[in-house]
């Protein structure tokens, strides 16, 4: 028995050494990666200091061109959105990490139904994209705890980078264009055959709503001007999908720029890459329009 205990102690010690050494190496590669995903997440969490930040999922990532906003508004902007149907669990953790470094002036939040509905395809596990930042802020840790991965991440640094070794090795040779400031343009035009509106027949998720309200509260506590925004889709749902965020925005006096049905874009294939995402041309035209609208809102006291 004593012999076995000695073996276990040796294994535990070796594991700790291997895990920490490899984990630090992976972290080093992660923060130096030029591949889109890793670079975007590490820059958003660790580096950006711009006054205006765009939060959201892939629709935000592809729709808001920081250079256009900077030109129109004269303030530094960065698009911290990430693809992969990221939801409020991710956004709230990211906000916490950013606030642990500095306080942006304005957050423009492209809200998505997966931020308040119980969407089966986008749940708590989305927070695990913040795994490399476990321990960076309480908000991030809280979201990782909800995802059920906080303690595994605490126990193993390697586990935070599970499955990402090939991307990290090749990441140095990635082609992230840093001048785009987080925006990721899409090239191509939608094939309109058989395109249908995306429907969300899911119930409201109380936990997500609570975190969404916490997100709003944290912004208010830090005097960050929060603006909700919704960009157009190629085809719109007949449901009143955005009633809930409209009510929420009204309750908390948050401006809501709802362009979901914007006829300048809806039904115009030349602006779309697919049914829910603008192509480069669409994103630029849309950003110009929004930048003009924001000029009247940004800097004005919270209504």
């Amino acid at each position: 028995m004593k012999k076995l205990l000695v073996h276990i102690v040796i294994v535990a010690s070796l594991f700790f050494v291997f895990d920490r050494a490899l984990g630090l190496g992976l972290k080093y590669m992660y923060v130096r990666s030029n591949a889109t995903d890793e670079y975007k997440i590490s820059y958003s969490n660790e580096t950006t200091r711009d006054s205006i930040l765009f939060f959201g999922s892939s629709r935000c990532l592809h729709h808001y061109v920081p250079a256009i906003f900077e030109k129109e508004l004269g303030i530094g902007c960065y698009n911290v959105a990430d693809w992969g149907i990221k939801n409020i669990y991710y956004h709230y953790g990211l906000l916490g990490n950013i606030l642990s470094r500095y306080t942006p002036k304005t957050i423009i939040f492209e809200i998505h139904p997966c931020d308040w509905l119980n969407t089966p395809f986008s749940g708590k596990e989305r927070a695990t994209s913040l795994a490399p930042y476990c321990g960076m802020s309480k908000a991030c840790d809280d979201m990782l705890k909800l995802s059920g991965q906080y303690w595994p991440y605490q126990l193993s640094m390697v586990y935070r980078y599970s499955g990402s070794l090939p991307s990290l090795i090749t990441g140095k040779y990635g082609s992230m264009d840093r001048s785009l400031k987080g925006w990721k343009p899409l090239e191509g035009i939608i094939d309109t055959m058989g395109i249908k509106a995306e429907e969300y027949p899911f119930p409201i998720d109380r936990e997500r709503v609570k975190i969404l309200e916490q997100f709003i509260l944290v912004c208010q506590q830090h005097h960050i001007q929060l603006i909700f925004i919704e960009s157009p889709m190629y085809v719109c749902s007949k449901q009143d999908v955005f009633k809930f965020p409209h009510d929420l925005a009204g309750k908390h006096q948050i401006p809501f720029l709802d362009h979901y049905h914007d006829s300048d874009f809806v039904g115009h294939p030349e602006y779309f890459y697919d049914f829910g995402h603008f192509n480069k041309k669409g994103a630029e035209k849309y950003s110009e329009k929004i930048a003009h609208e924001l000029k009247h809102i940004i800097g004005s006291p919270i209504q």
Binding site: H7, V11, F18, D19, Y161, S162, G163, L165
Partner: protein, 438 residues
């Protein structure tokens, strides 16, 4: 499932007792009838739960083809998990008593323990009663060596399952589930990966089952012995799912071969074809599995005709201990034979199988679906598997060199590295084992 398992266990234990009594009393005819009864009960349970809907459905479809219209709704039968595994264990008990290999175990709980031994009940290995019941009678003391070796085998099994099988599954499923939209090269590549995925998945499970058993102080049957380092289909089946193939060899092939010996070579071929059809159908109630068995059976015919079936072919090695070039080519050829069979195995029905086969010549011009992280992760881990298999197959005495001081820590180093590798490459989304469905 528990009630069914209990009833069947009790029934087979009682039949075993009666067979044993009949043999002792010299009542040969009675023991023969009871043994047949036990086989009927075992096959009957399998047939009812697993094959009833399939056979009635096939009969109705055949009747419809010849113009007899029968209306039929499939019965809602839930197949108990592990059924194919524990019924085989149950049947081997009366058969072994009848053949004088064992005598009846007076302790029902020991017998029940053998049938329902938790590490192996879901997906094997299909243990035989003699070695297992013998171990139950021995006293088992705490053994740290068993614990350490068992734990390492569990970790290796986890590595195979989570880092190779589940990684490959991401690619194979992405291509196979949307084969209409994928190029020929992607379909062929996914098909070539599938045997390796199956191997990692099932041998991974077996490693875990063997490891857990060992930690509890039990040695259970081995299930895989580097099946892709074989040069023909007979060799392959002697190393793939060994506990099933040896079961069928002992209880199906050998008796059939003896019965049909008057037919000479044709009798052996018939016995092989039947045996392989059983192997195919054991996996599931579908014509794809039936054809899978027939397909493998057909590959035995040339071996029978040129006399290689009963001959143990030794792979020639060069002066460095590696297999020679012609044997490597034969191994590759055998891998391709297995791959084609597994396309049948993977297809949900014959129509899908045929559509996939037809898609290959149609889609030669498409681009290769290169899912870099998935393929590279799987490739890195597969290198570890291939390295271990090569070492065990051809260089069993040559271990990876470690400095003398570290040599005493070999177990600790391996275990720590395996845990780190699982954390780094593994997929942690509770993917099911492929063989759980059988």
């Amino acid at each position: 499932m528990t009630a069914l398992l209990f009833i069947l266990t009790l029934a087979f234990w009682l039949i075993g007792r009666e067979i044993d009594k009949s043999i002792e009393q010299g009542k040969e005819h009675k023991s023969s009838i009871l043994t047949t009864l036990s086989v009927v009960v075992g096959i009957g349970a399998l047939f009812y739960f697993k094959y009833l809907n399939f056979f009635i459905g096939s009969f109705v479809a055949a009747a419809n083809i010849v113009g007899i219209h029968i209306s039929w709704t499939a019965a809602h039968i839930i197949v108990p998990i592990g059924l194919s595994f524990f019924t085989f264990k149950l049947m081997s008990y009366p058969l072994d008593i009848y053949h004088g290999k064992i005598s009846h175990d007076q302790n029902f709980f020991d017998f029940a323990n053998y049938i329902a031994f938790f590490p192996t009940i879901l997906s094997g290995p299909i243990d035989r009663p003699k070695p297992f019941l013998k171990q139950l009678k021995q006293s088992r003391l705490f053994n740290s060596d068993n614990l350490m070796v068992g734990f390492r085998r569990i970790l290796w099994g986890m590595f195979l399952k989570m880092c190779i099988a589940d990684r490959m599954d991401l690619y194979v499923s992405a291509v196979w589930n949307n084969y209409e939209h994928h190029s020929a090269i992607s379909i062929v590549y996914a098909s070539l990966l599938y045997p390796l995925q199956m191997y990692a998945d099932f041998s991974g499970y077996s490693e875990m089952a063997i490891g857990v058993s060992l930690m509890l102080g039990f040695k259970v049957a081995e299930n895989f012995k580097r099946p892709f380092f074989t040069i023909n289909i007979a060799n392959y089946w002697s190393r793939w799912h060994m506990s099933l193939t040896s079961w069928l060899t002992d209880y199906v092939f050998m008796p059939l071969n003896i019965k049909l010996r008057d037919w000479g070579t044709n009798g052996t071929i018939a016995a092989i074809m039947l045996n392989m059809t059983f192997i195919g159908m054991w996996h599931g109630a579908d014509w794809t599995f039936f054809l899978f068995g027939i397909y493998h059976g057909l590959w035995y015919i040339p071996l029978m005709l040129n006399g290689q079936f009963f001959k143990k072919t030794k792979i020639k090695l060069n002066s460095h201990g590696w297999p020679t070039y012609p044997f490597v080519l034969k191994m590759i050829g055998n891998y391709l034979v297995v791959t084609f069979g597994l396309i049948l195995f993977h297809s949900s029905d014959i129509i899908e199988f045929w559509s996939v086969i037809c898609r290959i010549p149609e889609a030669w011009n498409g681009s290769f679906f290169f899912d870099m992280p998935t393929l590279v992760n799987a490739a890195l881990c597969s290198i570890a598997l291939i390295y271990v298999d090569i070492q065990e197959e051809w260089f069993p005495n040559k271990k990876l060199y470690l400095p003398k001081r570290a040599e005493t820590w070999r177990w600790e180093l391996t275990v720590a590295l395996e845990i780190v590798a699982i954390l780094l490459f593994g997929i942690f989304d509770n993917n099911q084992f492929i063989y759980f469905q059988f």
